[in-house]
């Protein structure tokens, strides 16, 4: 692999790659605003300027400038090398690039910082980007700390509503055009553009349009400053209070990698951010997925209940055991869920083996919208995982038929969406006993005789298999809410209450067993660096 030198360090690159891209892959960040690995190159922010030393047989490209000489009190003609934007400059074998080690580059970064901040309102205290803002970071790192302009900054529109999800503040904008390029190139809906020139420049939505579609929140995500803010997160939290956990989006079978940002003080999830993964979602997530973090708190089952009456988990387990005591265990049907983790489903499958159950079913949500970019029509986060785990499991339709025919009277189920939503409750209501271990309310909990509260994906670590068969682990973010406990643990408790002997107590043991029983590739999500 060819290499070039960046500040004396050898950086490998593939032919055609830019300096900044190659350095980025090596984990070296060259300051930038407009460059994004997933977008085309604009080279308009000038922050990534680097000094490229001339090759041995070439002359340096020099500029004539006038430099203020304080001693003599007048400008003196000077020469300095012409700097190159690292985002646009393709790397060449043996090239000698100076970034941090070049005084000229440092000077240029200071200048660019000062220029970008000339008209900035510096309203960081009320800006949602504060704490993760490139302007702040680079100002601290490379800034020209004294502002030399004594003039009033230019004032531009503030809090312009771009659409259902996005609010725009032109004063904070650095005109990097990342949002415009994203809508153009990734979302394939060129609804954003710029107008005016110079310091009056601003981003606008195409006349008669709104910023809409399935990928609007990504414009906020790519914005390096606080110009674009999402209405959902706006003013909700300061980012320095938030902690991030590696998570996997539960919206569809794509299984986009995400950071789940939560506030440990309030045990509350606040937002998703895409987690870069070349194999799955690259750098992006859809709007529905971005907002699906709210499921950590919405429609949750937080306490055990018996016949719809709230009770303690211990009491509910007792009730479950009592209801199933007089039933031959092999007649109990076990229902897996495409919306629970692989570990939970494995535990449930083990339970069916221990019971000697003849029938194993699985539930999943009905198909929905899909597109070419990220969104899968399968709206279950672990559909592939359940089908791989138990190929013989029958879909919900068969269960509904058996229940209607009266051949199945007793069911133990993992909670999750059913294909027809609430309408399935009527079918399930015919069951004598339905014991549901669920994180979220569904028709399975609505008609259950005993409900045990399980933790959601945000509250315990779990493995999810996406549509392409890739196993991905989501880490625990917030602490379990209410009386909820991990479903695999509740399954074990239920089995013990039924007088069965279970072999698992820890997640580690289940994972070991899963690795043995399932031949699917155990690939933990590969992640690139967090910030782009």
């Amino acid at each position: 692999m060819p290499t070039f030198k960046l500040d004396g360090k050898d950086i490998p690159f593939s032919p055609g790659e830019t300096i900044i891209g190659a350095a980025h892959k090596e984990g070296i960040e060259i300051p930038h605003y407009c460059w994004h690995p997933g977008l085309s190159i604009a080279a308009n922010c000038r922050m990534c300027l680097v000094e490229v030393m001339p090759a041995a047989n070439q002359r340096a490209m020099m500029l004539d400038i006038l430099e203020w000489d304080a001693a003599s009190g007048e400008y003196k003609p000077q020469r300095k090398p012409k700097l190159q934007p690292a985002c646009q400059m393709a790397a060449v074998e043996g090239m000698d690039v100076r970034a941090d080690s070049s005084e000229h580059v440092k000077q240029a970064r200071k200048g660019v910082q000062e220029f970008l901040l000339l008209n900035h309102p510096v309203d960081c205290p009320i800006c949602d980007q504060a704490g993760e803002c490139k302007l702040q970071d680079y100002w601290l790192e490379h800034g020209q700390y004294e502002k030399r302009m004594r003039d009033e900054p230019v004032h531009k529109p503030k809090a312009t509503v771009f659409g259902e999800t996005i609010v725009y503040d032109a004063e904070r904008c650095v005109m990097c055009t990342r949002c415009i390029r994203f809508m153009d190139e990734v979302a394939k809906d060129p609804v954003l553009d710029m107008r005016e020139r110079g310091n009056l420049k601003e981003v606008i939505v195409a006349p008669g349009r709104q910023l809409e579609g399935h990928y609007t929140l990504m414009t906020e995500h790519v914005c390096p400053v606080g110009a674009l803010t999402s209405k959902d997160f706006r003013f909700k939290a300061r980012v320095w209070f938030l902690r991030a956990a590696k998570s996997v989006c539960q919206g569809c079978a794509t299984g986009c990698n995400a950071w789940l940002d939560f506030d440990p003080r309030y045990n509350k999830a606040y937002r998703y951010r895409p987690r870069d993964n070349e194999q799955v979602n690259k750098y992006w997530m859809c709007d529905e997925g971005m907002l699906s973090y709210a499921a950590a708190h919405e429609a949750r089952v937080l306490e055990a209940s018996v016949k719809g009456v709230a009770s303690t988990p211990a009491h509910a387990l007792e009730g479950a055991a009592k209801r199933l005591a007089s039933v031959p265990q092999s007649s109990i049907a076990v229902v897996l869920s495409a919306q629970h983790s692989l570990e939970d489903n494995w535990a449930m499958l083990e339970l069916s083996k221990l019971l000697g159950a003849k029938d194993v079913f699985y539930t999943q949500a009905a198909d929905g919208y899909e597109d070419e970019i990220l969104i899968n029509k399968d709206k279950n986060s672990n559909g592939r995982g359940v089908r791989d785990l138990s190929p013989s499991a029958k879909p919900f339709g068969d269960l509904a038929k058996s229940v209607a025919a009266g051949s199945i009277k007793h069911v133990v189920a993992l909670g999750g969406a059913t294909p027809s939503g609430d309408r399935d409750a009527a079918t399930l209501g015919k069951l004598d006993v339905l014991i549901t271990i669920a994180a979220h309310t569904s028709s399975l909990t609505a008609s259950a005789s005993v409900v045990l509260p399980a933790t959601s994906w945000a509250e315990h670590s779990g493995t999810w298999v996406n549509a392409s068969g890739l196993r991905q682990v989501a880490d625990k973010a917030i602490a379990p809410q209410g009386a909820s406990e991990p479903a695999y643990k509740l399954v074990a408790d239920l089995a013990r209450a039924l007088g069965l002997e279970v072999s698992w107590t820890k997640l580690k043991e289940i994972r070991a067993a899963l690795g043995a029983s399932d031949p699917a590739p155990d690939v933990r999500s590969t992640t690139l660096t967090q910030a782009v």
């Binding site: 309102p121 205290p125 009320i126 003039d151 009033e152 004032h155 503030k158 509503v161 503040d169 003013f235």
Partner: protein, 218 residues
Amino acid sequence: MAQAFPKKPSQPTNAAIVVYTEDTFATRSYLPAIATGLATSMQHFFENAREMIRGQRPDPITEPFAEGITTVSYPEQKRHYPERFRGVHRLTQRDDGSPRCVACLCCSTACPAQCIFIEPGEYAEGDKRRGYERFPVRFVIDELRCIFCGFCVEACPCDAIRMDTGAHAAPYDSREQFIYDKDTLLSFANRAGEQLSENPRHEPGDASHPGLSRDNVH
């Protein structure tokens, strides 16, 4: 306020030379020492009792005599707090009576006791402050948790929170009463009775405030 402190005394007032007593039977039996102690106690008792009965008690602060009673009868008498005493917080007001606070959460970030809770809100469309500021929908300080370090005052970029009320947290009989909400905090004044702050503030739309519209650019 005049600050005419008395001059420092030339020698420490409470220094005494330690005299060691001989180890005799009298000292070993402790009885003389106990008698002396009881006599001292009784002397104080009778003298103080006389002053209580005759109503000769001096002002405990201006005249704390060598052997006088030095209690401040709190609700009726109040000890002066220094001028820079950090008392109960107050939220300063704007001219229109709304809080100066823009709900930036700098104070709650700086707070080592995590006693400040703020829920920010956005001004409605058409409000002249929309986009420039946000406002606290809820601003709650738990005075029980507060350690009165004053970091919140230091952190505030808007001079919106101050601790110049000169009042200490009053004793209440339930915890809820120590949770001061926005209106309570806004209702406090500093020692001069002022609810505003001396520092000028540019309101969006003021003549002193920079231009607002695209037509009003430089």
